[in-house]
């Protein structure tokens, strides 16, 4: 009896060891590109070109990150991305909350058709509107400005859809009670409806933040100078650097990913909700 018990325990231990080995192996593969990028950011250009490659920084060059920030205009790119992203998220959330409120709590002619029009935008990819939008922005004299990066994204079909779904769950009796107490629509929206639905709003805001921060094609087309380039397009500029600056490119890549990494660590749970909600559009 004790012998079989011992062997059973041994099998269990062995299984656990194998599982950890596989878990660690998979983690190593997923992290390898990130790890090498960090290591190379800390090497000198001479060490980077050395073969076989250096896989551990013996003399980490932390000041490369400072160089990347100053020399590669990375600080400006990050600032530009922050301005554009915050503006887009704030505007998308605001216009979506207002429209969703109207679709749920107000009666007006053509309400259904207008809501359907909002939904229909989910079927129009940015590529199908790219050229005329460029012409519009150009015609308004807004090329290479912050408004050109923000204006096409001030409204969101997914936002309206998600908020409408959430608001529909609001008990109508409560609305009537609030109205009897003399609570007007706007007060009702900002004091009661919006605060109650803050988790949906936060999940959408996170999703909107990720999409706005990661935009590539549109910013590539409408920006021409570093003064307005976002960090994604800034990375494109950096990637053309020569060998002597490859460590700066690596450092820039890390710095460009850092804000999102921090955000995601802070809001892991909302991220899952936000991503699955956003996945409705894809």
């Amino acid at each position: 009896m004790p012998a079989t018990e011992a062997s059973a325990r041994r099998t269990r231990h062995l299984r656990l060891v194998v599982r950890y080995a596989v878990l660690i192996g998979a983690a190593a593969i997923v992290l390898f590109p990130i790890y090498i990028t960090i290591v190379d950011a800390l090497l000198t250009p001479q060490q980077i070109t050395h073969r076989p490659p250096t896989l551990f920084p013996t003399d980490p060059q932390w000041n490369t990150f400072v160089t990347a920030f100053r020399q590669g205009s990375l600080g400006i790119y990050l600032r530009n991305s922050a301005i554009v992203t915050f503006a887009v998220v704030a505007l998308e959330v605001t216009t979506s909350v207002l429209a969703a409120y109207a679709f749920v709590f107000l009666k007006f002619p053509a309400r259904k058709i207008l809501f359907f029009a909002c939904l229909a935008t989910l079927m129009v990819p940015g590529e199908a509107t790219l050229i005329p939008n460029y012409q519009t922005i150009n015609g308004l004299g807004l090329l290479n400005t912050f408004p050109s990066l923000i204006l096409p994204f001030v409204a969101s079909g997914i936002g309206i859809f998600l908020f409408r779904q959430a608001f529909l769950g609001f008990p109508p009796e409560l609305r009537d009670a609030a109205q009897l107490d003399g609570c007007g629509h706007l007060k009702f929206l900002f004091r009661i409806v919006a605060p109650i639905n803050r988790s949906v709003i936060a999940a959408f805001a996170l999703f909107a933040f990720l999409s706005a921060w990661n935009q590539y094609l549109w910013p590539l087309v409408v920006t021409q100078t570093d003064s307005v380039r976002t960090v994604q397009i800034g990375l494109r500029q950096l990637s053309g650097a020569n060998f002597s600056q490859f460590n700066v490119v690596f450092a820039g890549t890390i710095l460009a990913a850092l804000p999102i990494a921090i955000l995601l660590l802070l809001f892991q749970r909302q991220l899952v909700a936000g991503l699955t909600a956003g996945a409705v559009k894809g």
């Binding site: 216009t95 029009a117 050229i131 994604q232 060998f243 999102i260 991503l275």
Partner: protein, 297 residues
């Protein structure tokens, strides 16, 4: 006018006022440009810039969509989708299954597996651009140089290399999606199968996979849509080259419109892409509605 009618009028006015910002933006940046794109396809670009483009009706549509270049674009795009979508789903599912356990420290592994969501397409592409650089790249060193100039300059390997970067960048997202799906499975069914003595692989193949099939289908459709819209990695890694080897539909649109000054041609391609994505989106909407009704059963 009675107080009631007045109140109704005011409510209606407020309603229009609240939907105006969103609908105004949609009108200006979604609906108008969509129609305009279709319209631009009627115009042939002039032989030299600054001359007026001239109206040719549907002629350009027929010519572009019937051209061998368009068929090649589609073929390369389909190849890219084929390289990224099944691989991405298998990798995500394997990792989610691996992390679907309650051993100490598993949360750290879950964070690591979802970590690539923090990377944008540009971050992933620039990181790999240097990792795959034939002179300094660690990956190109490990791969054994792949023919002097590296994989990205090799017509056979350029698109697969771009696909590899895409799969890696999407690991985090597919892992999160698959993990959420695994966690939503009915535990009683799995426990019962375990008690009945079904082995791990049998349980996975005969119970977990069928139960997951809706979410796998969902992941496949959004993967295909994402594949057709993959632009940044092409732009940063290969610019459609070498020798058009990675010229997918969306990159052709970009080059025609913004590098070759041929908006009419690009507009036709855009409408084609729109049509393809529209069909895919309908498939996805139909499916999503079914999933919702399952959830509320």
């Amino acid at each position: 006018m009675s107080a009631k009618t007045l109140r109704r009028l005011r409510e209606g006015a407020l309603g229009y006022l609240l939907v105006l910002p969103a609908l105004g933006a949609f009108g200006l940046f979604v609906f108008y440009p969509l129609v305009k794109t279709a319209y631009l396809g009627f115009f042939l670009a002039p032989p030299t810039p600054n001359l007026p483009s001239h109206y040719v009706g549907f002629h350009q549509y027929g010519q572009v969509l019937g051209s061998s270049e368009f068929v090649s674009d589609l073929g390369r795009t389909a190849f890219f989708v084929l390289l990224t979508v099944p691989t991405g789903i298998v990798v995500g599912l394997l990792l989610a299954n691996l992390a679907h356990t309650k051993v100490p420290g598993i949360r750290a592994f879950r964070t690591i597996y979802s970590s690539t969501v923090a990377t944008s397409t540009a971050v992933a592409s620039v990181a790999f651009l240097t990792l795959l650089n034939p002179q300094i790249g660690v990956l190109s060193y490990l791969f054994g140089k792949a023919g002097g100039n590296g994989v990205l300059a090799n017509p056979h390997w350029a698109l697969p290399a771009v696909a590899m970067v895409t799969v890696w960048q999407n690991i985090g997202f597919t892992f999160i999606l698959m993990s959420a799906a695994l966690q939503s499975l009915p535990q009683e069914v799995l426990e019962a199968a375990k008690v009945d003595g079904a082995s791990g692989s049998v349980r996975f193949r005969q119970i977990v996979l069928p139960l997951l099939s809706p979410i796998l289908f969902f992941a496949a459709v959004i993967g295909v849509i994402g594949g057709f819209q993959s632009f940044g990695q092409i732009d940063l890694l290969t610019q459609g080259g070498p020798n058009h080897a990675s010229l997918v539909l969306i990159y052709d649109i970009y080059q025609q419109a913004f590098q070759f000054n041929n908006p009419g041609y690009a507009a036709v391609l855009s409408i084609a892409l729109f049509g393809i994505l529209l069909v895919l989106t309908f498939v996805q909407f139909f499916f999503f509605q079914r999933r919702v009704s399952y959830a509320s059963d």
